[in-house]
Symmetry: C2
Subunit: 170 residues, 2 copies
DNA sequence: AGCATATAGTCTGTCCATCAGACCAGATGA
DNA sequence: TCATCTGGTCTGATGGACAGACTATATGCT
């Protein structure tokens, strides 16, 4: 039940969405999950988020069915179907941020694996389809600024890789 | 500079986006602006948001260039080009919320004016194009729950109307 | 097996944002 | 001209986010 108070008196799907993913850090956590981050300490290292808040956010996302927690000792967090379904919205927000802040110089490039680049609407330039996140490869774009972070997770994420593929840290 | 602290140390367009629209209430304000809400008191009546927070959010959105404020006495707030450009992301979040919370029964229906219904990706079923928000008409869907609110703004928004068209309150 | 370290948290006190509600000046309408 | 509406600001109370200390379990090394 995120957001301090909720938006219960809004008859609006956007309000419903924001109750699930509208809190500070939540969308960045999900973005990291798409990029292949799966472990508590990796989220923490990559986001500089307080452990207490990270713990509470992960609990909420698991309770809401957007992530699963598996493994006893050091659990891994992975996107559920419902979480994966958020990809188009997340991608649209990323594209808007790129257009707004570094026009013409995206920070990351997205490619339909073995096919073509993705446009701002998420469709592949080559085949015209909208690939699922598992069929998308990310690489650094001209707007990337590697000097901002040097934690192991950020370093690993700079290598071209498929979405959802666990990143090779440790 | 929203969000308490910002996400300055994230080299990510999503973080940049969320610095602009990630605070509580901000996306709901922008949604209302798309629906045709333009005045301080109308935002306030429709969202049940504290006046102080509404004032601060509108100031921030104007400062960030997503809204314009015009008129001396009782100003009207309208989306800028940059604000309008957020429509695909907003629409994707709304669709996700509909799928998650009331599958098969969307709260609002969106139609390409004089053409066909919009799909979850924002494209018109009839012509295949992705209409700009000004060419989209909203009406109530089967998942709408009119009992939730009866303020004049909510009542006016229930009538089918084009996005961006000022709603007839007062 | 035993030990050192890493991991995944929880707990604490401080600080800042949000809240409800009072208050107020200027604009608008009768 | 006067009453009301509109668009704010201000106040004190509450709750979430923060940095940093603390801890129990898991893992890796020898």
């Amino acid at each position: 039940m995120p957001l301090g108070t909720d938006y219960a008196r809004q008859d609006c799907s956007l309000a419903r969405s924001l109750e699930l993913v509208g809190e500070r850090w939540t969308l960045l956590l999900l973005r990291d999950a798409f990029l292949g981050v799966r472990r508590f300490s990796d989220f923490q290292a990559h986001l500089d988020i307080s452990r207490a808040v990270l713990s509470s956010r992960l609990d909420a996302l698991v309770a809401d069915g957007l992530l699963t927690r598996s493994g006893e000792g050091h659990p891994t967090y992975e996107l559920t179907e419902e979480g994966l379904d958020l990809w188009p919205a997340l991608y649209a927000l990323v594209q808007w941020g790129d257009r707004r802040t570094t026009p013409g110089r995206p920070r990351r490039l997205y490619q339909h694996v073995g096919c073509g680049d993705l446009g701002p609407d998420g469709r592949c330039h080559a085949c015209g389809l909208t690939p699922a996140p598992g069929d998308v490869e990310v690489r650094q774009g001209p707007g990337a600024d590697p000097s901002l972070r040097d934690d192991p997770v950020s370093v690993a994420l700079r290598q071209p890789h498929r979405l959802l593929q666990p990143i090779p840290v440790r």
